[in-house]
Amino acid sequence: MLEQLIDIFLLAFLAIISIAIVRIRNVFTAVMLFGIYSLVSASLFMILDAADVAFTEAAVGAGISTILMLATLSLVGRDREKPLVKKKISFLPLVIVLVTGATLVYGIVDLPPFGAADNPVHTHVAPRYIFQSMSEIDVPNLVTAVLASYRGFDTLGEVVVIFTAGIGVLLLIGGRRRKEENADE
């Protein structure tokens, strides 16, 4: 019961923080709010029994993403003076978002019940991962067993994506600036 209560309140926090991020015009404040948002979502992952995911979200979302965004802001400079809170709400995006949201809300009616043990998602490969992995792999952390062994090829792809993203960043902003080399331009 307590878990469910915490879940309800954390979700409400997330909704409030996301509204604040939308309304705040100052990008620096929005980045800091996004760090808080990541930390709250890490707590929510913990409540939903996903300790590994919570760990990653706390380290990556609240730590690295926030600091990369702050580094970017220090490079692109503060935006020009603006009112702190956005006064005008643009109309067309709101309509698009409301229509899409209404469609999605219509979609949740058909979803299987939340937290039931016999949902379709729990019946296909999950029983094998849970009940066979101790005899096949003998690693108590089932997430590690699935990540590194059963779905090892998938993880190899993810590692290559991260590596490629690193190369992309180096190509885009690594090395010296073009302006310094031919300053006469």
């Binding site: 300790a51 590994d52 919570a54 760990f55 990653t56 380290a59 990556v60 730590g63 690295i64 600091i67 990369l68 580094a71 970017t72 220090s74 490079l75 096949e136 792999i137 003998d138 690693v139 108590p140 952390n141 997430v143 590690t144 067993a145 990540l147 590194a148 062994s149 090892g152 090829f153 993880t155 190899l156 590692v159 290559v160 991260i162 590596f163 993203a165 690193g166 960043v169 180096l170 902003i173 690594g174 010296r176 600036r177 310094e180």
Partner: protein, 144 residues
């Protein structure tokens, strides 16, 4: 942030423990929450703190960019190399059963190697990215 004595002393004190925690997360990932992805990020965050305290040039002396590039590639190669090794031993790609004396030992060895590859790549790529962002903002002329 160069004048903040307290931040520097406390930060210096924290850095080794953050690295130690990163290694713990890496090698305890089989038994508790953790693994290569988290460990890489935590390990990289120790260097991020060092950069914030002492500047990006000082940190790049400890972890030069060419080393990081090599380590990032080595991680991917280690991961793919485990797959190739299992191919050579007659099993499917990334099927660790054949790596050890008996299947479970092979699985353990394979998982440790693969997680090490993930950890190396994630840590060095995150550090590379952060250093690139930080070095971009440094004043001109000081570039190495």
């Amino acid at each position: 942030m160069s004048d903040h004595m307290i931040l520097r002393v406390v930060g210096k004190f924290l850095i080794p423990y953050i690295m130690l925690f990163g290694l713990y997360v890496q090698f305890h990932g089989d038994f508790g929450p953790g693994g290569g992805f988290q460990a890489g990020v935590i390990f990289a965050s120790a260097f991020v703190i060092h950069t914030l305290l002492f500047g990006v040039r000082a940190t790049q002396k400890i972890a030069p960019e060419w080393v990081l590039r090599l380590v990032a590639s080595a991680g991917v190669l280690l991961y793919a190399g485990v797959g190739v090794a299992s191919l050579m031993l007659g099993a499917n790609f990334l099927d660790y059963d054949v790596l050890g004396a008996y299947p479970v030992a092979g699985q353990h060895l394979g998982i440790i190697l693969v997680e090490a590859g993930v950890g190396l790549t994630v840590a060095s790529v995150i550090m590379l990215m952060f250093f690139t962002f930080a070095a971009r903002g440094e004043p001109e002329g000081e570039s190495p």
